[in-house]
Symmetry: C2
Subunit: 199 residues, 2 copies
């Protein structure tokens, strides 16, 4: 526990506890203990109490979320694009998985307005995949469809494998999943070269 601003420490510990247990199941006493202070100190930094701590945690979490999805350089063949994307995600999978699991938990209690930023980020993720694909695929609708399938299936894989623990029972490593994705989706597109006239 680096002795920096206590307010920051509180937020970090709260974020961790919320993610692990959920908002309702986490008490402010737990947060105080983890932060090495008393509940009273929490109210010095966050007058609004527990709910203000939640708001702050949510606000802090967003800019960081899923930022990793951007590819620096596109590979020459479309088939390698999936591999490259998967590679990036593999590293951050554990982090993303429990963050998303938590969002699922709290989503039910969020107002439509509060949901918005998270939804936007998810949509942005699909858009990025689509944009990448359009570097290879001319047909916009096709790129869109493929992007959705890639996005949904990766998302589902992550939830099933990591959160639900299926990877322990099925032989469903990231590598195998990537192979399946490449084999299934891109059977006939796999070798498309990067288009030169792309945006």
């Amino acid at each position: 526990m680096t002795k920096q601003n206590l307010g920051e420490t509180i937020i970090m510990n709260a974020a961790q506890l919320f993610k692990k247990q959920g908002y309702k199941a986490t008490s402010i006493k737990q947060i105080a203990n983890a932060s090495g202070c008393t509940t009273a100190a929490l109210y010095y930094y966050f007058e609004g109490g527990k709910s203000e701590i939640l708001e702050t945690v949510m606000r802090r979490m967003q800019p960081e979320q899923m930022r990793e999805a951007k590819l620096q350089e596109l590979p020459p063949r479309l088939g390698d694009l999936i591999g490259a994307r998967m590679e990036i995600m593999k590293d951050n999978m554990a982090v993303m998985a429990d963050r998303i699991r938590w969002l699922f938990m709290e989503m039910a209690n969020l107002s439509d307005e509060d949901k918005l930023p998270f939804q936007k980020q998810l949509l942005g993720f699909q858009s990025e995949i689509k944009a990448d694909l359009q570097q290879y695929i001319a047909d916009e609708k096709q790129a869109d469809q493929i992007a959705w399938i890639m996005f949904c299936s990766f998302f589902g894989y992550q939830q099933l494998g990591v959160t639900m623990g299926l990877d322990a029972h099925a032989d469903l490593t990231v590598t195998k999943f990537t192979e399946a994705m490449q084999a299934v989706i891109f059977a006939d597109l796999m070798d498309l070269p990067k288009r030169d006239d792309a945006a």
Copy 2:
């Protein structure tokens, strides 16, 4: 509220509340109110209190879960298989989505042993899709891969669309998603007829 066994009524109402709010966030008073009795009555039926109610809900939920996934009759062309599966799921989607969302919430607090039945059911779901596919596709590995992608992407779609509320922002109806799945995955397999020599 059909006036049957109160014990059953309690379990049904508890299940609904747990799914909506999570175990921790649901009070026994809420359960009692919803069931038209007092908390004391709960303890007549479930001596173990709230935790015994949870156990019972979990035990009851399993056999019912995802039962709908079985197809009675396979369509003549492979391309229609996805449509048929989607059609079935569409109806039960809302039910499944919040049940699964709940499982996600509680998964973190379940022991590995308790997780097992749910994991088995999920795996069984993939197996069913695979078995269907093998009626059309000879190559076992290919069928397995396609089944995983279908399973994961449907799962992801459901979570993203319904639980995260993306369907409100993207034009991501079940129909469109089904089309995408058909277009993307089965571009070149779409018209495969049902094999006669299949198991």
